[in-house]
Amino acid sequence: MKHTTALATVASAKDRFARATEEPARAGSVVLRPPRVPHAAPVPPRGAAARLKRWFRLNKGTIRAILLGMLSIGLFIALWHVLTVNRMSVYVRFVNVPSPEQVLESAEQAFASGRFFDHIVISCRRILIGFSIATLVAVPLGLLMGRYKLLREVVFPVSEVMRPIPAIAWVPMAIMLWPTNEESIVFITFLGSFFPILINTLHGMSTVDEVLVRAARCLGAREAATFREVYFPAALPQIFTGLTVGMGVAWVSLIAAEMISGQFGIGYFTWESYSLVQYSDIALGMICIGVLGLASSFAIRAVGRIVTPWATRH
């Protein structure tokens, strides 16, 4: 068509639209617009300063979150400072509560002597042993229970009855069961993390997409290979959820056990400080427990991200 070639020289989109609407198209006719002349891509300014500016703009959300996080922790410490330095007492009594400065001072002293560090090492070792054994038992058991109905039907009722019992309630029983104090504390740590790991592994197994199993069978996978190549990786993200939750419960259980029956450990240290009227050490112990719990959860999430790269959201 003649007018199509005439239109081909048109440059701007506005112009193209105007031409196209000039004369109404006949019903059923196809009116081709001339090809669009692409805009030149804007050349970003080069140089370190410009790049830095762009980096800030692109990471605005993250930077804001970090700044706000620091601000909120700062405000918390400031409030703590005001409440304790002025020994305020509004029904809740801050009279004997140590101030942040006192806690910092006792932290300096504590880290200078090796004893405090020993408490931390002992607690971490108990967590590591109890949590590792729980992982090594609960994950395979959960995988097998998820795959074999008979095993699930036999084990599940027992686990459901045991699960609501808090690990702390096991302390007297654990002391009777195990020959040494150390073993009973590790046992309680193990129990605390065992059930969250087991339940999450089981849940992970129940969400395995059946079509993936069938696909694997069609490609010649037998039982062992299907387990290794399909069930296990499919359940892995959920297993890591269980490990993260289990780690949290392991710390809760460990501190309770150490407070009741320990001679060492950060939980024992915190309780002992109360008995010895060293109030600033109570806060120090608590902060240490918080930091250690946070760090171990972070570590598990980091490992989880590394071993399940496909599950990382982009």
Partner: protein, 287 residues
């Protein structure tokens, strides 16, 4: 290549499959017979719920017939195996494996060395135009690409037959046409038998040498239609009088069964009556 050298003969005879319920046995498929000759492209179409996927799953080895036999190259099907590649309606790529690892899976199961696996997978991915995506995880791919990888994965072990269960059902119309072309190209190159389940009449005609039409549940074979259209086929074929004629014929057969499947009271006359009523009156008056 002579016909006798080719493999991939599928025979299904006197096939019945029923489920046990409280009210007795419920029949899904009754007395179905079908045949796929080596190198042939055969489709099964029918109304939804007619048991076409049931038949396919029986050939794949996931379902055992209550009565009758299913054989591939004369051997009775005992369970799923790599000699029968399968492509599913749902995307069934392993999310934890990259595209290439997905394609390598069948060869890995067979114990082929890593180097050799990699080489075969790369060749096949090249054929399907997926080379640049080999290291991606499946969730980065579009639906069409996922299904292409699915097909390539099923072909990687060199199966005698390829079974496809509405593989393009979730794709948009344009992607679907391109996928049909790709499947045809692969089938022509690899000379294997294909059994293809779909509810799309155009798709069945465009792809197949022969089409089986199934009845409503309990499903059995209602008709067998040979597609006389020459190959290679392209999309312009869909406007030819032969194509449109076949389409009308198959459409009528399926429509009859679909109405049956929707229940006795909804017959063709009832539908006509409904349309006339609505033409005359306001919709709010009718309701």
């Amino acid at each position: 290549m002579s016909a006798s050298a080719k493999k991939g003969l599928i025979e299904v005879s006197d096939f019945c499959l029923s489920y046990e319920t409280l009210d007795g046995a419920m029949s899904a498929v009754e007395d179905a017979d079908l045949l796929v000759r080596p190198g042939e492209f055969v489709s099964i179409i029918g109304p939804s719920g007619c048991g076409k996927s049931t038949l396919l799953n029986a050939v794949a080895g996931f379902l055992k017939p209550t009565r009758g036999t299913v054989t591939v190259d004369g051997e009775a099907v005992k369970g799923p195996g790599a000699d029968r590649g399968m492509v599913f309606q749902q995307y069934s790529l392993f999310p934890w494996k990259t595209v290439r690892e997905n394609v390598e899976f069948g060869l890995k199961m067979r114990g082929v060395s890593a180097d050799e696996r990699k080489r075969s997978a790369r060749t096949l991915l090249g054929l399907a135009g997926l080379s640049q995506f080999e290291d991606q995880y499946p969730d980065r791919l579009s639906g069409g690409m996922k299904q292409r990888v699915g097909i390539v994965r099923a072909l990687a072990t060199g199966p005698r037959v390829l079974l496809l269960d509405e593989p393009f059902g979730a794709l948009d119309a344009q992607t679907r046409q391109i996928m049909q072309q790709i499947l045809t190209n692969l089938w022509e190159r690899l000379e294997i038998s294909v059994l293809f389940v779909t509810h799309d009449i155009d798709e069945a005609i465009f792809l197949s040498d022969r089409i089986y039409v199934m009845t409503a549940r309990p499903g059995s074979i209602k008709a067998e239609v040979t597609v006389p259209l020459p190959r290679p086929r392209d999309s312009t074929l869909q406007l030819s009088p032969e194509f449109l004629g076949l389409r009308a014929e198959l459409g009528a057969l399926i429509r009859e069964e679909s109405l049956k499947a929707m229940g006795g009271e909804l017959n063709a006359d009832a539908l006509k009556g409904l349309a006339i009523n609505l033409n005359g009156a306001n919709l709010s008056d009718v309701i």
